[in-house]
């Protein structure tokens, strides 16, 4: 990871350590759409590993329906790729003003968001950027850095978490290679589907939510909905039929049972279920104690291969938008 990113992360973590002296009461993750989705795995990780509450909000829900527990004892982590999402800038500004630790991740270090937060952290983007400098690696470096401060009893484990960043690129490449043929074939087979359901739980929910709202709805104009595996049997499963397409991720971690149970039922009544079992991921180089948390990052690579394939088959480039960036809204 570049020195620039490391230095910014160190400053943010130092601020968290300083705040911890007077007490951190709540971690808030605040962002919109894909930027919110990509932080969900860390919110889950904090929820599981720290005895301090952590919550995640879409930015304007946080701004207008502000939780009462939000105060100077909060740590607020915001994210916006362009750094211009007005509601996320507003959330970062409010965090700064109230005296919370206000940390922001962005690809644009001179953006309004970077200026609104006390601790802006830059990440790289694009085909030429190293995976270790991109958004997910930078977020995880921040997350494990914070864990070292607030859950020092497992310091060795968090050190493994930091070390895993260097193994992420190869683990992703090897796993994508394993799934490639099936992923490409999936794109061909499903190009005429008008709705595709996604399903997952625990640490993977955010990645499956992002697949539904960003990749399918936003970038392919395909109807979609992310079903939590634990909710499937309590309503959504009645939509299952032989020709209803599902993509289900089975966690390699704590919530695996939920995914397995939903998948097993779904496959009985739909002939179109694409299963991504994280137990099949090649996670060599990533310590077992943090593999659950790294799985959604590797999953992202598999999903991208599927979506590239369907986009190609449909002749609908992932960059096309009809409203976003085309008009005021």
């Amino acid at each position: 990871m570049k020195t620039e990113h490391c230095t910014q992360i160190e400053k943010a973590v130092a601020a968290v350590a300083e705040k911890a002296k007077s007490g951190i009461h709540h971690f808030y993750f605040v962002a919109c759409g894909g930027s919110q989705a990509f932080m969900m795995s860390v919110q889950y990780m904090f929820d599981r590993e720290i005895g301090i509450p952590s919550s995640i909000y879409t930015s304007n829900e946080f701004n207008y329906g502000t939780p009462k527990d939000f105060d100077e004892h909060s740590v607020v982590i915001t994210c916006s790729h362009s750094g211009t999402t007005p509601e996320t800038v507003e959330a970062a500004k409010r965090a700064t003003e109230i005296g919370a630790v206000s940390i922001a991740l962005t690809n644009e270090i001179d953006s309004p968001l970077a200026k609104a937060a006390m601790y802006p952290i830059h990440y790289d983007h694009g085909a030429d950027a190293a995976i270790t400098d991109k958004n997910k690696a930078v977020l995880y470096a921040l997350a494990f850095g914070i864990l070292k401060v607030v859950a020092p009893e497992q310091a060795a484990r968090w050190e493994s978490g930091l070390k895993a960043i260097d193994a992420l690129e190869e683990a992703t490449n090897r796993t994508v290679e394993k799934f490639k043929e099936a992923a490409v074939a999936w794109g061909k087979a499903n190009k005429r589907d008008s709705i595709i359901y996604t399903m997952g739980s625990g640490v993977n929910y955010g990645e499956m939510y992002s697949l539904a709202i960003c990749l399918f709805m936003e970038m392919q104009w395909i109807n979609s909905s992310c079903i939590h595996s634990g909710e499937y049997f309590h309503g959504p499963f009645e939509i299952t039929d032989y020709d209803v397409p599902f993509i289900i991720t089975i966690s390699n971690g704590a919530t695996r049972h939920l995914d397995e149970r939903a998948c097993s039922f779904c496959k009985k009544f739909s002939d179109n279920v694409f299963v991504i079992d994280e137990a099949d991921f090649d996670m060599a180089g990533i310590d077992e104690s943090v593999r659950e948390y790294y799985a959604p990052l590797v999953l992202g690579g598999v999903i991208r291969t599927m979506v590239d394939s369907i986009a190609h088959e449909r002749g609908h480039a992932l960059s096309v938008r009809r409203y976003m960036w085309q008009m005021e809204y």
Copy 2:
């Protein structure tokens, strides 16, 4: 409200008051599907009104991906209509065992859930039951009772919240009457739609989530997805087109701006947007200071009228299931 319900609520509230002496660290709402959705408005209310964190989980996410903050300083509120949902029974049992205040709402007072929780609370159900004895009234009586204990500085407001229960039935009836013609016409006009999106925010999110997963997916086998109004512009809005149906609720409370903004855009590009503006609700008898929190309960009546209409037009009774209760899963 019947004495039976009042007595059970009083016991639960007394237990919360007793726990408050040694410190309540977290309120957890844990349930599945419709039972989870119906508690979301109270989780939102607690989030807004109490400086103690509150979170909501689908039961098995709580059981398998258990948050670290869950301990004897927790209050856990579960719900299952039949009282037999195994994962919810398990959550209530764990709450009891860990020494948390374990409260359960159910229609079956002799059910496994009622036995697993320390403080079971019964609610009535069915055409003959008074609205004041049904699940939502009983939940709100519990919620405002707890608020009186943990946020006593606004005791008068919570007293208004309790008093509002008696005005709920008439407010709902009057409001449903106002929307009836449009709601019935909506069912006729949309009976052939293969997907219907629902949208809302803040206190109403749970009701719109329930509309998507229970009423449309489960009870009508219509594809659906609940979009948070604050997320709409960050992906989902690209699915909007002239013939894509949306049902949008505009809050009468804190998050109104999010709903108005999403609705205004959506109406520009879809010719099929059904708007339920809570500002048009007849909330007489419900104190203004708690109207935001009561709005989703009244909303439920309007939604039910729409769904009864579409079910009738489609000849698909709301009671029909192909999987639920038909087999083991």
